[in-house]
């Protein structure tokens, strides 16, 4: 043998004693389990198709110095795309909340901003507390009582988004190799090239959105069908050959938005806002050989969309600003790819069949 190694018998430790010590020390895990309930999560995107998660965890002996980053209590719950139920999640809820859903890479992400929620989310309490309280048509912020904040999507709505996922991302069933989940990489959208996300440090120190704002109100929300006008503009760009967007998926995206409620539009809004600005710039750029800057109808259309989408108003909304910086919306629907990705590295981990 290449190397003499420590062996238990050399130290007069029997296998039985090793196992006994192993079991004894394993009990030290339980002391930390409460930590799960106190954890809160920041999800900070690097870019569209990536979500990096940063957790800050309060210990029992936490102090300000150690957990200075914990000022913000963004709590994120991820719904498994393959299941209808929510997984248990560590939560810090709060007195004022914002709610949004994010369809991200096959996962539905639900986030709640707030603090002082002592209870973890679980499938059980979510089902009992929220399925009735909140649905896709009736989003309301929680009262400022510090009560547990738990929002849930209507299961029907989840199904709808799952269908959406299936339509957009070609998750073909595995063959031959038997890899349980074939990776289907999605390119970030070409439209997003040049976009520079906020540096992580900056993101981590951003302040809470205005707690007094009632985000459930739809009075300032855009007139959703007008999204079709925007899509028309995008189509014009496609036609110009400057941008390559798959028609079908974009169209489907439009239909989805059209069907959604105001609060759902909230999370699509940053996409529209940013894309619209880029599209407008492209279309009106006199240096662009495909420029439509002389088109009166285009100007009218742009003006119409701008006035209805209330860009400036919404841009100033602290909450949207925060979300926009915190989470860049996924763009998988714009350009699904068919190229495969190798399964992650442990190819030989699937051996046990009766585990």
């Amino acid at each position: 043998m290449s190397k003499k190694l420590k062996k238990s018998d050399e130290y007069h430790l029997s296998q039985k004693e090793l196992r006994s010590i192993d079991e004894e020390i394993a009990s030290f895990a339980s002391e930390k389990e409460t930590c799960l309930e106190e954890a809160h999560i920041d999800i900070i995107p690097i870019k569209e198709s990536q979500v990096l998660a940063f957790w800050n965890c309060e210990s029992e002996q936490s102090n300000e110095q150690d957990f200075s980053e914990c000022d913000q209590k963004l709590v994120v719950s991820l719904l498994d795309n393959d299941k209808d139920n929510r997984m248990d999640m560590p939560v810090h809820g709060g007195s004022k909340h914002m709610y949004f859903d994010l369809w991200q890479s096959g996962l539905l992400v639900e986030a709640i901003l707030g603090e002082n929620n002592p209870k973890p989310l679980s499938s059980e309490n979510l089902n009992s507390d929220f399925n009735g309280a909140l649905n896709s048509q009736n989003f309301k912020p929680l009262a400022s009582s510090g009560q547990q904040s738990t929002f849930s999507r209507n299961p029907k709505e989840i199904s709808k988004l799952e269908d959406f996922t299936k339509l957009v991302v070609t998750n073909e069933p595995e063959q031959g190799l038997g890899v349980s989940e074939r990776s289907v990489p999605i390119k970030p959208p070409s439209l997003r090239i040049g976009h520079s996300p906020e540096p992580i440090q900056k993101l981590k120190t951003q302040q809470h959105p205005d707690e007094n704002r009632d985000y459930s109100s739809s009075e300032n929300m855009p007139n959703l069908p007008l999204y079709w006008e925007l899509e028309g503009v995008i189509a014009a760009i496609q036609f110009s050959g400057k941008m390559k967007l798959p028609n079908n998926n974009l169209s489907f995206f439009g239909q989805e938005i059209n069907k959604t409620s105001a609060h759902e539009f909230l999370y699509f809004y940053p996409i529209l806002q940013e894309e619209f600005e880029k599209i407008k710039a492209t279309l009106l750029d006199p240096l662009n050989t495909h420029s439509l800057s002389n088109s009166e109808s285009l100007h009218a259309s742009i003006s119409n969309i701008e006035s209805i989408l209330h860009f400036q108003d919404l841009r100033d909304a602290q909450v949207l600003d925060t979300y926009l910086k915190r989470i860049q919306y996924p763009y998988q629907f714009l350009k699904p790819l068919s190229l495969p990705i190798p399964p992650p590295t442990y190819l030989i981990h699937g051996f046990r069949d009766n585990n």
């Binding site: 290449s2 003499k4 190694l5 062996k7 296998q15 004693e17 090793l18 192993d22 020390i25 030290f28 895990a29 930390k32 930590c35 954890a39 999560i41 690097i46 198709s49 990536q50 979500v51 990096l52 998660a53 957790w55 965890c57 210990s59 991820l78 498994d80 997984m87 248990d88 096959g106 996962l107 073909e172 031959g176 349980s180 989940e181 074939r182 990776s183 990489p185 999605i186 970030p188 090239i193 040049g194 992580i200 998988q332 190229l339 495969p340 990705i341 190798p342 399964p343 992650p344 590295t345 442990y346 190819l347 030989i348 981990h349 699937g350 051996f351 046990r352 069949d353 009766n354 585990n355």
Partner: protein, 537 residues
């Protein structure tokens, strides 16, 4: 297929094989099922790959392959306890083969395959014994002869972007990994395999600080880099600080891994999932299974992917070998076409084809035959240089500095396999433990004038536990449901062991036998410098 008559342009084809397994060592049990993962990888992948490369080297063929050996894998390959158990594992399999061959009830085709496996196991055993279990030495020898370019990865295969909020951990993973690799191989590695190709902006600074010169990124990271330069994924690009990037070639991945058209799914190839132990009640199999106290795969797989009337057909190694060679020619033809399409005047391109090393042999049984044939074809044709261009190859290097995009080679190019509702509970505990350890180090080295040997050992062991808990493998297995219970236990145990040690340090009461037991069970990174875990980047 007339691939060899087609003229082509010159270019580089660089295979990058990443060999990694999580650290699994259970001396507290006679038999431990998960240790078999290493044994199967040695038998089916590592030894066959070494042998094919040595064979080609002996024939004087020109090639070089980038081969990544993870620090955890190196630690296991060097572990004498596991080495002994590997031989016992082979002996058990040989007993099963012999019983199958002698059993009159076993069909003729199955007997032939038992003999096939018996030869394979005997061959592995002879090789293992001949080189005194020193597989690492065989890899190093090939490196010295420039047939392999050995590189490594992070200490315990931590997915680095997940630790951005505790950057000390990123640097520690990189530095410890490099130190361990150097200790085992005597090689100062220039290249780094980023676990799961997981990159986020700024990571190049850590990579450089750790002393690496290049790494490999997912296609997405380079394709959407800024600025976006045409064909960047087929050139060596570099960050502002000089760290070089090579991107995964999507076409090569597609050919090998596509669920529909990927080579390993060919009907002539061996079926991975169906194993003799699945339904055999032979006494030898029952005994083998009995060691592990539940049914498990033996590695004797008699069937091909093909089915007839819902029944798997017997595997035909000869037929499969022919198909693997055919696929190799097909692959090389495709590479030539790719190169032709890329060709620009005075410009050479690099096609980087990274795969898990265990793909070749374990997962895809015929993979080594395919790889060998690819190397032979490349040598006959002469239009590809097999290997990574040297850093000074100006014809392939892109002089423009780029900022890659964050991505992984996982599903959706994202981190979702390693961060999702099934496994996200790991991270709060992990991050807290890291902070706690940093606090302990600060306290101990402020208050203690002399660090006793016992305290030093305890700190080292605590550092090992922390690093082991950071392995990306556990989160992934929990997500996929494969060996989920074991993965869960490993994370919990590593954290529990850390908690125990931290508690002992804080109470100034270090139980000697328990410390010793942990050193025996987590016998990894013997010379670890725990200060690295709190070193500010």
């Amino acid at each position: 297929m007339d691939s060899e008559t087609i003229t082509s342009n010159k270019g580089y084809l660089s295979f990058v094989l990443h060999a990694h397994l999580p650290f699994i060592n259970h001396p507290e049990y006679d038999y431990f099922f998960e240790e078999n993962w290493l044994f199967q990888a040695i038998t089916e992948s590592y030894i066959p790959t070494l042998q094919l490369l040595e064979r080609l080297e002996k024939e004087g063929l020109d090639f070089s392959i980038v081969y990544s050996l993870s620090p955890t894998l190196l630690s296991m390959l060097d572990n004498s306890g596991l080495q002994e158990r590997y031989l016992r594992h082979l002996d058990n399999l040989l007993l099963i083969c012999e019983a199958e061959i002698k059993d009159p009830k076993v069909p003729e085709e199955q007997v032939a395959l038992s003999k096939y496996y018996k030869t394979q196991f005997e061959n592995c055993r002879a090789y293992f014994v001949q080189y005194k279990a020193n597989l690492i030495g065989r890899f190093v020898r090939l490196h010295k002869n420039k047939k392999l370019e050995l590189i490594t990865t992070t200490a315990t295969h931590a997915v680095l972007p997940l630790y951005n909020s505790i950057p000390e951990t990123i640097l520690a993973q990189l530095k410890v990994g490099k130190i361990v690799f150097e200790k085992f191989t005597g090689i100062d590695p220039e290249g780094l395999w980023l676990p799961e190709c997981a990159y986020c902006k700024g990571l190049e600074d850590f990579i450089k600080k750790a002393g690496y010169k290049y790494t490999f990124l997912d296609t997405t990271s380079i394709e959407f880099a800024s600025p976006n330069i045409e064909n960047n994924i087929y050139r060596i690009t570099q960050a502002k600080n000089g760290v070089q990037f090579m991107a995964r070639d999507p076409e090569s991945s597609h050919q090998v891994w596509s669920a529909e058209t990927g080579y390993p799914s060919d009907s002539d190839y061996r079926e991975y999932h169906k194993d003799l132990a699945d339904d055999s009640d032979s006494p030898q199999i029952q005994q083998y299974i009995g060691y592990f106290r539940h049914r498990c795969q033996s590695g004797l797989k008699y069937w091909s992917v093909a089915e007839k009337n819902g029944k798997k057909l017997f595997y035909d190694p000869q037929k499969a070998s022919i198909k693997a060679k055919y696929h190799a020619r097909e692959f090389m033809l495709d590479k030539r076409n790719q190169l032709r399409n890329l060709h620009q005047k005075d410009q050479e391109f690099l096609i980087t084809a990274p795969f898990d090393a265990e793909l070749f042999g374990h997962w895809w049984h015929e993979g080594p035959i395919w790889l060998e044939e690819v190397i032979r074809i490349a040598n006959r044709q002469g239009d590809f240089t097999l290997g990574k261009p040297s850093s000074s190859e100006s014809s392939v290097n892109c002089s423009v500095e780029i900022q890659p995009e964050g991505a992984t080679w996982g599903k959706n190019s994202s981190l979702e396999h390693w961060v999702n509702p099934t496994n996200d509970w790991i991270y709060p505990q992990l991050f807290q433990a890291v902070r706690q350890f940093q606090k302990i180090l600060l306290t101990q080295f402020q208050t203690e004038e002399v660090i006793s040997d016992e305290l030093d050992r305890t700190l080292k062991q605590a550092a090992r536990s922390l690093l082991l808990a950071q392995s990306s493998d556990w989160a992934f297995m929990i997500r996929t449901g494969s060996s989920q219970k074991y993965a869960f236990k490993r994370v919990k145990d590593s954290l529990a062991r850390f908690n125990f040690l931290a508690h002992s340090i804080q109470n100034k009461d270090i139980p000697k036998r328990k410390l010793l037991a942990l050193e025996i069970m987590d016998d990894i990174f013997p010379e670890i410098d725990y200060h690295l875990l709190s070193q500010t980047p």
